[in-house]
Amino acid sequence: MSTTIDSNIRIQQENFNVTDEIEAIKNASKNIGGITTFLGTGRELSKGENISKLNFEHYPKMAEKKLAEIRLQAIKEYGIIEMIIIHRIGEIDIGENIVLIVAASEHRKETFKACEWAIAELKRTTPIWKRETTSTGEVWVQDTP
């Protein structure tokens, strides 16, 4: 099976299935022994306020470009075999999946490092914005802790 950049980097409204993405990344090599996954989900509490709903917006083309750069840099710098990055946009409820990063390699150490670096880099460089809905209204989140 092919693993194209298109399928490994996605910004989409619909939910994703972690098992499906893990099975997809396994196809990259029979030598994969460790797969580290980071999944970000919608929390109910943010700075002491109760969140009822989240909304994500992105800058099309630039956001995809940044995710593709993160994937390539992770593969090159951490020596992993493959990485998948998916970020959802639109309305997201509490407990729902927001972002998924899957890093696969022969051994585990580099997959942890690559995965942790990739989510930090995504937050730092990728033009995606979050709007939180609370009982007092809607706010765009300005700082990322």
Partner: protein
């Protein structure tokens, strides 16, 4: 024409998704910021005060960057993707 896109909180501030500016064949981000300030002073201030990032054709640029006719500029408030 130069296209300027506003995202997230800046779109609320601008009251629109994007603007068009006629600035000749070449200008700088500083000049464009002054032009934006004529209608939305706060956004011009944020660019000049480096409170927001600016991209030209999907690449982040600095204040002294040259902008050409036909470029797509985006004013990018601090990112909050991920979780």
């Amino acid at each position: 024409m130069i296209t300027v896109k506003y995202f997230a909180t800046l779109r609320s501030l601008a009251g629109k998704d994007e603007d068009q500016f006629s600035m000749g064949s070449e200008t700088t981000l500083v000049n464009l910021s002054h032009e934006i300030s004529k209608t939305i002073p706060k956004i011009g201030e944020m660019i000049l005060g480096k409170k927001v990032m600016v991209s030209v054709n999907l690449n982040v640029i600095s204040l002294d960057a040259i902008i050409k006719d036909g470029d797509e500029i985006a004013i990018l408030p601090p990112f909050s993707g991920g979780i």
